[in-house]
């Protein structure tokens, strides 16, 4: 480890911008970005499944609020949602005295809430489309077997809907990664935050932003390949049979 450090230090000696310190900021930024995106996607996914089912409900008082939630969160910029949550919570009377403030004080949590609500709205629509396009025949077959609604949802509708939703969800993951760059606006030192810091300190926009663009590009490719792999595994039955 020490040998590696001295080697790195030697590499960076004739370079005033990419020192161990600034690379450290990029490193921490990478961790923050990945955490933020990963957590919001996971929580958003968990929220989106019941919401997508409820969105197709025949009860208006179930489907209408979900429709409105999706409409508002998909129709307004994430930046506006982030501002509302980050600055909004501060002005809730007396919140600083409650236990909630301990977690809301850190900028990470308001950002996580905003990102989660946003991605949940998009994911709900993706799943809703996938559920709607379930083959009628499959549903009729399940009914004929005497399956209850819940069992049918669990065994027939959802598994095939997840597979159909995969390509669209892959796009949503990449969009979320890119959208997370605005976390830097509320002082979070994510990847973009690190780049802005380096830019402001050294007035070197090309070094600061091209470097971070390259990191994002690598992350995007990693996600693309992951989803391509998943599609190959899970959607194998949809590929044309090779002769």
């Amino acid at each position: 480890m020490d040998a590696l450090m001295t080697w790195l230090e030697a590499r960076l000696a004739d370079n005033s911008i990419f020192t161990l310190q600034t690379l450290g900021y990029y490193g921490e930024g990478l961790v923050t970005t990945v955490q933020l995106v990963f957590l919001s996607l996971i929580i958003g996914l968990v929220l989106a499944v019941p919401l997508a089912i409820g969105r197709g409900s025949t009860h208006r008082w179930v489907s209408l609020p979900i429709f409105l939630y999706c409409y508002v969160f998909r129709g307004t910029p994430l930046l506006v949602q982030l501002y509302l949550i980050y600055y909004g919570v501060v002005f809730v009377e007396g919140i600083q005295e409650t236990w909630l403030w301990v977690i809301l004080e850190e900028p990470f949590v308001p950002a996580l809430i905003a990102f989660t609500l946003n991605t949940a709205a998009y994911t709900t629509e993706i799943f809703r489309g996938a559920i709607k396009s379930t083959d009628r025949g499959e549903i009729e077959a399940a009914r004929a077997y005497g399956m209850s609604k819940g069992l049918m949802l669990r065994r027939i509708v959802l598994p095939s809907a997840f597979r159909r939703a995969l390509p669209a969800y892959g796009n949503e993951v990449i969009f979320m990664l890119h959208a997370s760059a605005i976390a830097s606006v509320v002082t979070i030192m994510d990847l973009t935050g690190a780049a802005r810091f380096v830019y402001a300190r050294f007035y070197a926009p090309f070094d600061a932003f091209l470097f971070v663009a390259a990191i994002y590009l690598c992350l995007t490719f990693a996600i693309l390949y992951l989803f391509r792999y998943l599609e190959r595994r899970l959607l194998a039955h949809l590929r044309p049979a090779s002769g």
């Binding site: 409409y71 508002v72 129709g75 307004t76 910029p77 994430l78 930046l79 506006v80 949602q81 501002y83 509302l84 600055y87 909004g88 501060v90 002005f91 990449i174 990664l177 890119h178 959208a179 997370s180 760059a181 605005i182 830097s184 606006v185 973009t192 780049a195 802005r196 830019y199 926009p205 090309f206 932003f209 091209l210 971070v212 663009a213 994002y216 590009l217 995007t220 490719f221």
Partner: protein
């Protein structure tokens, strides 16, 4: 009535900037998208490669990072060129990349890549028999494009176009971060000054929803127009 603390006119100006920015970037994106689609479908290996490189890079990097790169970096890049001109030839040129221009160029560049994909798919959906028929009538390349390929392509492209416009509209909010006084920026300033974040941000959110709803209606009309002669499948 809601008390805007005198920020009403500035908020309105901000909304106008958002709309101008959105429309101009859309125009640029459509032009770039058509060029990219042609490049990617072209038989020229170089054009194809450049088109692919452009769409890959743009779609791999966050909008905000591209915007900062272009806004902060673009200016310095231009300065280095003009300074070199001054130092070597004594020519004093001044090129100003203001926030608005940087915003239009960046958003246009970003969505040009997405539009390129939309248009490419749409062009490929046009029946090649129709193009051959046009040729057989003695139409030249341009006439085939104008009378046959473009109108039919638009029918397939409108859903994608409408989708891209909705995303583009929301992306305009990012210019507030590089200092352009769009409505998000005005609302953020007003919230801080008056200590009332909900009032201004909710108004801004409502304006975005309004613009989105109006354009949804507009695109539906457009779709109807280009769908003349077709019947939607059930």
């Amino acid at each position: 009535m809601i008390d805007l603390h005198g920020y009403g006119p500035r908020l309105f100006e901000g909304a106008m900037i958002t709309i101008q920015l959105g429309v101009l970037s859309l125009a640029l994106a459509i032009v770039l998208g058509l060029v990219t689609a042609s490049a990617k479908m072209s038989r020229s290996w170089v054009a194809h490669r450049i088109g692919t490189l452009y769409t890959t890079i743009i779609r791999g990097v966050p909008d905000l990072v591209l915007m900062m790169l272009l806004f902060f970096g673009g200016q310095i890049g231009i300065n280095q060129i003009t300074d070199a001109l001054y130092n070597h030839f004594g020519i004093d040129i001044f090129i100003n990349v203001n926030e608005f221009v940087a915003g239009v160029i960046t958003i246009g560049l970003i969505f040009g890549a997405y539009m390129g994909e939309t248009f490419r798919g749409a062009f490929m959906a046009v029946d090649s028999g129709q193009i051959e028929a046009g040729r057989a009538y003695g139409m030249n390349h341009w006439l085939v494009f104008r009378r046959i390929r473009f109108p039919q392509m638009m029918r397939h492209a409108i859903p994608g176009l409408s989708n891209n416009w909705m995303v583009l509209l929301k992306t305009t909010a990012l210019v507030s971060v590089i200092g352009l006084s769009d409505m998000v920026r005005v609302a953020a300033e007003a919230s801080k000054a008056t200590r009332e974040p909900f009032t201004f941000m909710i108004i801004v959110a409502a304006i975005y929803l309004l613009i989105a709803s109006v354009s949804e209606w507009g695109f539906a009309r457009l779709q109807k127009r280009y769908n003349v002669g077709y019947r939607e499948a059930d």
